[in-house]
């Protein structure tokens, strides 16, 4: 295609400006800190307030903060407090990913089954919730699981109606209201709920494209359905699985809203801490350092995944049939 190279330059410019430069800024903020020189306020001979610096010089102007290059935020980041947080975030993200995989893979498998009628309809139903605002969906789970929420009020009515049920629950040590929220499990539930569809779609795409004649051939050669699955479907679905894992794991590591709402502030994740730095804690530098840490971890994870999947073709095509 004899296209003019004129297209290349503007695009590269845009990419540099909006992708590279911002990241460079994050790096810059990450390796710098703002410091105010230590000083004390004293009154001079005229009764005016002046400022004495550490080295003894006295100045009428209050010393302002300066930006200096420093790796102290990196040191701070590696302290147990924050590392533990990162590990916990990774753990929860991994659990979420695994659960999504275990729940989602069968869905993709079933939907792409040859004798499954109208997969398009069901696929659409699976995608639909994703188009609804994720905040709203998270809030709706809260309405269900709160102490004063729907589930608890149903259980309460049931207990009133069926004394036997009530006494059984009490004997098991269950109090008046069951606390479903404000713990790690609630956060995982919230994440699985929000990201499940992201796992199902790529896997479905890939399985659906698998040449069914391969499965026929395997059956002809005497393979049982299980064997066909393990030897044909599973390996072929791997690119989709890897993509699904990526699409769940990456947001799961850095989410902050789900953990605040479902976890009640008791399950802080690295995303929450980063967000705090750009908010109340007002320490953009530390926030940037933490962001870099997260970025490195995620890229390392992706790099690891890439080794498993050598395919370059991106799997973003889904047929709506």
């Amino acid at each position: 295609m004899k296209k003019n190279k004129a297209l290349v330059a503007p695009f590269v410019l845009w990419a540099v400006l909006f992708i590279v430069v911002p990241l460079v800024m994050v790096v810059w903020y990450g390796v710098t800190v703002e410091q105010t020189p230590a000083y004390t306020e004293i009154a001079d001979d005229n009764g005016q307030i002046v400022f004495r610096l550490e080295d003894g010089t006295v100045t009428p102007e209050r010393p302002q903060k300066t930006t200096v290059v420093s790796l102290e935020n990196f040191k701070r980041m590696l302290e147990p407090t924050y590392l533990k947080l990162l590990l916990r975030s990774l753990k929860i993200a991994l659990i979420t990913t695994v659960i999504c995989l275990l729940l989602g893979y069968p869905v993709a498998l079933i939907l792409s089954g040859r004798d499954f009628k109208r997969p398009g309809l069901w696929l659409m139903l699976i995608i639909l919730p994703m188009w609804m605002n994720f905040l709203l969906r998270t809030y709706s789970w809260m309405s269900i699981l709160e102490n004063t929420g729907i589930l608890n009020s149903w259980i309460a009515s049931l207990r009133e109606a069926i004394p036997a049920f009530d006494s059984w629950l009490t004997s098991m040590g269950v109090g008046k209201k069951i606390i479903f929220l404000y713990n790690e499990n609630a956060v995982i539930l919230g994440m699985v709920y929000n990201y499940l569809s992201f796992m199902i779609m790529p896997i479905y795409t890939v399985i659906e494209k698998t040449d069914h004649s391969l499965l026929d051939a395997a059956a002809d050669l005497g393979a049982s359905p299980v064997q066909s699955f393990l030897r044909v479907t599973l390996p072929y679905s791997l690119p989709g699985v890897l993509e699904g894992i990526t699409m769940v794991f990456v947001p799961a590591v850095t989410t902050f809203v789900i953990s605040q709402l479902m976890g009640g502030g008791k399950v802080p994740l690295i995303g929450d801490i980063i967000q705090n730095q750009f908010g109340k804690s007002s320490d953009w530098h530390f926030g940037s350092t933490l962001s870099l840490l997260v970025m490195v971890v995620v890229l390392a994870f992706m790099g690891g995944l890439q080794r498993i999947d050598k395919e370059e073709e991106p799997r973003k095509e889904v047929r709506i049939l």
Partner: protein, 268 residues
């Protein structure tokens, strides 16, 4: 076995839809309580429409969505073509760069853009919001168009020119139509990502400009009114109609038709 499969799918569906059904149900609840039913009412819908903040946020979300989708589709298509023509080595580099916003967590993307605007001394507002949305949408468009480019018959453009077309005519009349499914799906992708975005918008907007997600987040700070349920019900209805429309042609049949719509990629 078949029953088991259907049951499993039903279970997953129940899981996905339980909260949504409840949201819809309680949007008609004549009581602020989230657990008790107080009677049927449409007042939350009335309140919703008279809530200027929500309506304005809705407007912003839609306008940003469409604008960002259009701009990033154009930019992304240009980018895909540019990438296609590069030599292998620089292409790999540029492709990785373009991929970065997708791989990076949204927090990092949002924060990095915020720092960019701070350094350039640009006030946070509609413009920065738009620029940021374009920034994270373009990669999706590029990745939608690239495969289509690879499928192109390289001789088409030359053939067109041999027959007397100028390069521009050749592009618009021959090449672009072939790229269309990729371009279209990129557009839909961009639209979806933009409309539902929370994190990047959170960090890059200001001056009172806010999209739906941010408005919901701040509204919830003052107490979750059933107005929000009404809002979600409406969004659900719209999206439902939209997706049904997109699929209408196909799913009346058995499901594996060879329709052109097959090639439309659904965003996820």
């Amino acid at each position: 076995m078949k029953k088991l499969r259907k049951a499993y799918i039903a279970l997953i569906m129940a899981f996905l839809y339980a909260p949504i059904v409840l949201l819809i149900l309680y949007s008609f609840n004549d009581s602020k309580s989230r657990a008790n039913w107080g009677g049927f009412t449409l007042r939350w819908y009335k309140e919703l429409f008279s809530d200027a903040a929500i309506m304005s946020a809705l407007g912003t979300t839609l306008s940003i969505g469409v604008l960002a989708a259009v701009i990033s589709t154009i930019l992304g298509t240009v980018g895909a073509i540019a990438l296609y023509q590069m030599k292998r080595a620089p292409r790999k580099v540029l492709l990785s760069v373009v991929n970065l916003p997708m791989l990076n967590s949204e927090v990092v993307t949002g924060v990095s853009l915020m720092l960019l605007y701070a350094m350039a001394n640009i006030q946070l507002g509609y413009l920065t919001l738009l620029l940021s949305h374009v920034a994270f949408c373009v990669p999706y468009v590029v990745l939608s168009v690239m495969p289509k480019l690879r499928q192109l018959d390289p001789n088409l453009a030359e053939a067109a020119q041999d027959l007397g077309a100028t390069p521009m005519q050749g592009f618009f009349k021959v090449i672009l139509p072939d790229l269309m499914p990729g371009v279209f799906s990129g557009f839909i992708m961009a639209l979806t990502m933009s409309i539902d975005d929370f994190v990047v918008s959170f960090f890059t907007t200001g001056s009172g400009v806010s999209n739906l997600s941010i408005t919901i987040y701040t509204m919830a700070k003052r107490g979750i009114s059933p107005k929000i349920n009404a809002l979600s019900t409406l969004i659900f209805a719209c999206v439902f109609v939209l997706l049904v429309g997109l699929n209408l042609r196909d799913f009346r049949k058995d499901g594996r038709s060879q329709n052109k719509l097959n090639e439309v990629k659904i965003p996820y």
